[in-house]
């Protein structure tokens, strides 16, 4: 269906090609998962499928890409619209119309389909992605999961034979991600659609894949069946890491498969009566920050309602909850971007709304959901110079994202590198309270590990960190305490281990495999069993 023949893609002013001598064949009806490190060229590979790269990105493409027998050189993206449907990373930027139903019809109108066909297919697409209740709603008022599904429905209505998705679940909470993935799997099974998907959160998607395409650092690409690629890929979900460590054969990719192997391991671990991970619940006198009965309104919408929260030195707090539950608002109140309509916020004994300039950055730091918002200089070097402590920023950035040319423009960095830069800039101000909003979007596992160890060191040195996230693996790995928010209220607040093992929605993979043994990560298992199994 999709064939790459010796494809090399080089962007202008790039030192090395983004894709290097790629030969690849994805047959019809397969779900291919594209994995690779942050910035390795996954997006370039996806965009080359319908010719968006190089048509819209610039650069030169050598070799040949054919989709359903059509060469992308001879056919611009619009001529391939009836064969390839593309959903880019942030669907909000790709919406052309205002209303869900119009958006679904838009692509078919471009293809010039007769009205009766359009009517039928709109209904089909609405049903297939469960959007019928939202059909007359403006797109901008939908939740993140609904927007993602609307974008997929809009593309599917064109009846493409290939669906290309760039990180379809990275901005979604676990439940919304499951919705989208279930819909995709149904499409592959029922309609024989070919799906090519890039995703960092392998734990969510690897079990659905028929083939894994691994984009390596230098732009080379290898592919194969999931079990084979996962056996030695540098990016792997926790269940695979556990399986590799325990030398399970064949390598399990799903919780179900892993649980079949895990019987002996569970027995060993429960016999050991593992000492719980050192959960420091600091009892030190004054909290670093405090929210008292905080209520935030956006118009008539209640974003936070009666929230009480005390944050202590040395804590890493994960804030979890649905898209739109109020996580971001909580962080925004802590840094003074949002003023509560009732209640009191104190950070280091002060009201963050009243803090300005260095007083604010020295008290509380925040990395927003899109870290690029914090970066406006011309180069990485300049961003460092502009920060509070240039040397410290530079050092932190090199640690989190090694090997980046300091002359690069922040816009040309990959999402993970941008986060690393924004985080370094914020950290260099040395605030005791650090807030991170969805920091692992677009991060690969190695970068995530470096982030985790950095955060742990900050906490050990007495810092307080609040992480709003959908990433249960991150929460399990790093957080000492987890707060779950729903509809603007705190539903659960307790040690991470108790919170995440109590709810299947928030449980990390290792906990699911080893339940009822309360262990959250591979590192927990390794710590409990110093000698190899």
């Amino acid at each position: 269906m999709i064939r790459f023949e010796k494809v090399t893609l080089t962007y202008p002013d790039a030192g090395r090609p983004a894709l290097c001598d790629v030969s690849l064949h994805i047959p019809e009806g397969e779900l291919a998962l594209v994995v690779g490190r942050t910035g390795s060229g996954k997006s370039s590979l996806l965009r080359a499928i319908n010719g968006l790269a190089p048509t819209f990105t610039g650069g030169t493409l050598e070799g040949r890409v054919t989709v359903d027998g059509r060469d992308t050189r001879a056919h611009p993206p619009r001529e391939l619209a009836d064969v390839v449907g593309v959903v880019l990373q942030d669907p909000r930027n790709g919406f052309v119309t205002e209303i869900v139903e119009d958006e679904i019809a838009y692509g078919m109108e471009s293809l010039g389909l007769p009205p009766e066909v359009m009517r039928r297919r709109v209904e089909e697409a609405l049903d297939l992605l469960g959007l019928n209740d939202a059909r007359h709603r403006p797109l901008r008022t939908l939740s993140g999961g609904q927007q993602q599904r609307a974008a997929i429905a809009a593309v599917l209505a064109q009846h493409p034979r290939v669906l290309v998705l760039d990180e379809p679940t990275s901005a979604l909470d676990p439940a919304a991600a499951e919705e989208v993935l279930a819909a995709l799997q149904r499409l592959v099974h029922d309609l024989g659609l070919t799906v090519v998907m890039a995703e960092h959160r392998l734990e969510r998607v690897v079990q659905f894949a028929d083939r894994i395409v691994h984009v390596q650092g230098g732009g080379q690409v290898t592919d194969g069946p999931p079990v084979q690629v996962m056996a030695d890929a540098p990016v792997a979900p926790p269940v695979v890491e556990l399986g590799r460590w325990a030398k399970w054969e064949p390598l399990p990719l799903t919780i179900r498969e892993a649980r079949r192997f895990a019987g002996p391991l569970r027995a060993t671990l429960s016999a050991l009566q593992p000492t719980p991970k050192q959960l420091v619940t600091p009892t030190s006198a004054a909290p670093v920050s405090e929210l008292e009965r905080v209520r935030v309104l956006y118009g008539s919408h209640v974003a936070l309602d009666g929230v009480d929260l005390k944050l202590h030195s040395g804590e890493i707090v994960a804030v979890m909850g649905r898209n739109g539950a109020g996580k971001s608002t909580l962080l925004r109140s802590l840094v003074g971007l949002t003023e509560p309509s009732a209640g009191r916020v104190r950070v280091g004994g002060q009201n963050p709304v009243e803090l300005k300039g260095r007083h604010l950055t020295g008290t509380v730091g925040m990395v927003p959901q899109d870290p690029g918002d914090l970066l406006w200089n011309e180069s990485v070097r300049q961003e460092c110079t502009e920060s509070v402590d240039p040397d410290e920023t530079r050092r932190l950035f090199d640690e989190l994202a090694p090997g980046v040319d300091p002359a690069m423009h922040p816009r040309d960095l990959s999402e993970g590198q941008r986060l690393a830069l924004a985080l370094s800039v914020v950290l260099s101000a040395g605030a005791p309270l650090l807030l991170l909003d969805e920091p692992t979007r677009g991060l690969d596992y190695p970068t995530k590990h470096r982030l985790v160890s950095l955060l742990r060191r900050r906490a050990a040195a007495g810092g307080t960190i609040v992480v709003a996230t959908h990433d249960v693996e991150l929460a399990a790995d790093v957080a000492t305490r987890t707060v779950v928010i729903a509809e603007g209220e705190i539903v659960t607040d307790g040690p991470t281990r108790d919170v995440v093992t109590a709810s299947p929605q928030f449980a990390p993979q290792v906990a699911k495999v080893l339940a009822p043994v309360p262990m959250l990560t591979v590192a927990d298992v390794l710590a409990a069993l110093p000698e190899a199994l």
């Binding site: 391939l80 593309v86 078919m108 949002t338 604010l360 925040m366 959901q369």
Partner: protein
């Protein structure tokens, strides 16, 4: 399983524009302040009765404000630069003696009531025309209007609509950047800050436009049917010569020395050629329209009500010019001619014949219970610091 309620159908956007333009034509035929006031009142009445909750529906107020500004500017200019009109002097401005070669122009001097009233009438006329355009803007959905644009012009239409959405999205981005500056502890004021913010906003807007362009292209925007090069050349020639004829005809119409018949002939042939070109170009477009807005009796009635007003005003301007263009020197109290007044009232018909828009009550359930944080309007108070 409950089916989503289907919102009431909206009146065809082209009908709104035709109605509003007809009303504007009527306003352009008179300087009678009473009639102009009636036209503005009718536009306001229909907007109040039939506008939706959509963002563009709020634009009527902006157009009215613009009209007031125009009126004010018109009065001030008349007072300062206006040609002297003898009559009752209201105030005397210091007069600047202008050099010989500027004879005929005036700066300052006596301001008469007559001059001011004349300026007020013409200012009111501009305001009424603006109110009509504003009403069309507030009532017609721009994206639905786009569906009625001929296929050959569709791309141009999309460019306009996308450009219109750029402003709100750039404003949202500006807000984000100001927050980011606060997070980095940098001042929100000062020249460098303004320059940097502007650059960032522009870069962001460009980036979003490119993403949108890529998304649109990959969904088939701008697909054309193949057409032989010779055919394409013929179409282009026909369309271009049509536009040229239109230009010449328009010039001839305004130029007193050309016979009016020549001008009209030129205009007619130009229009015919341009339409032929458009029609030929349309054959290349492959677009089809999903659920086109139907044209039913409310649309016809709306357009007819506007047309009645335009026709009656035009006829009245010829039949009794004294009432339609009341004299201001000497000052008289303007009469209120009955026929145009009735026609204006007829033009208010869309307030009843157009299908009603869903009330605020029934749109309330369109507001989602779960809305992601990032799309909510953010209180700006704290950021101003």
């Amino acid at each position: 399983m409950t089916r989503a309620p289907r919102p009431m159908r909206a009146l065809h956007p082209v009908a709104w524009w035709l109605w509003a333009l007809a009303l504007a034509v009527a306003a352009s035929r008179t300087l009678n302040p009473l009639l102009l006031g009636a036209v503005i009142g009718v536009a306001a009445l229909v907007v109040a009765a039939r506008r939706s909750q959509a963002p563009w529906a709020a634009s009527f107020r902006a157009f009215l404000l613009l009209g007031l500004v125009v009126l004010g500017v018109r009065l001030v200019f008349e007072a300062v630069f206006g040609a002297p009109i003898p009559g009752i002097t209201v105030l005397t401005l210091p007069e600047v003696t202008l050099p010989e070669w500027m004879a005929g122009a005036r700066l300052g001097g006596a301001v008469t009531l007559e001059a001011l009233v004349a300026a007020l009438y013409s200012g009111l006329q501009l305001m009424a025309i603006l109110a009509c355009v504003g009403a069309a803007n507030a009532l017609a959905n721009p994206t639905r209007l786009l569906k009625s644009v001929p296929g050959a012009l569709y791309e141009v239409g999309v460019a306009v609509v996308v450009a219109l959405t750029l402003v709100p999205s750039a404003l949202a981005h500006l807000q984000l950047i100001r927050e980011a500056r606060r997070l980095r502890g940098q001042p929100a004021r000062g020249m460098t800050s303004v320059a940097r913010t502007a650059t960032a906003v522009l870069a962001g807007a460009l980036e979003r436009s490119l993403t949108l362009a890529a998304a649109m292209d990959s969904r088939g925007f701008g697909r054309l049917r193949p057409m032989p090069a010779r055919e394409k050349r013929i179409t282009a020639t026909v369309a271009l010569s049509g536009l040229t004829c239109l230009l010449i005809g328009g010039y001839a119409l305004l130029d007193a020395s050309t016979a009016p018949l020549t001008a009209v002939a030129m205009l007619a042939s130009g229009a015919a050629l341009a339409l032929t070109g458009l029609h030929r170009a349309n054959r290349r477009a492959v677009r089809s329209v999903y659920r086109p807005d139907p044209w039913r009796w409310p649309e016809s009635a709306t357009v007819a009500s506007g047309a009645v007003a335009a026709a009656v005003y035009t006829a009245a301007a010829v039949a009794f010019p004294a009432d339609m263009l009341p004299t201001t020197s000497p000052l008289t109290w303007p009469a209120l001619p009955l026929a145009p007044l009735l026609a204006t009232l007829i033009a208010a018909a869309p307030a009843w014949v157009a299908p009603p828009v869903p009330s605020a009550q029934s749109t309330a359930d369109l507001v989602p219970s779960i809305e992601s944080d990032e799309h909510l309007p953010r209180p700006t108070k704290a950021v101003a610091a």
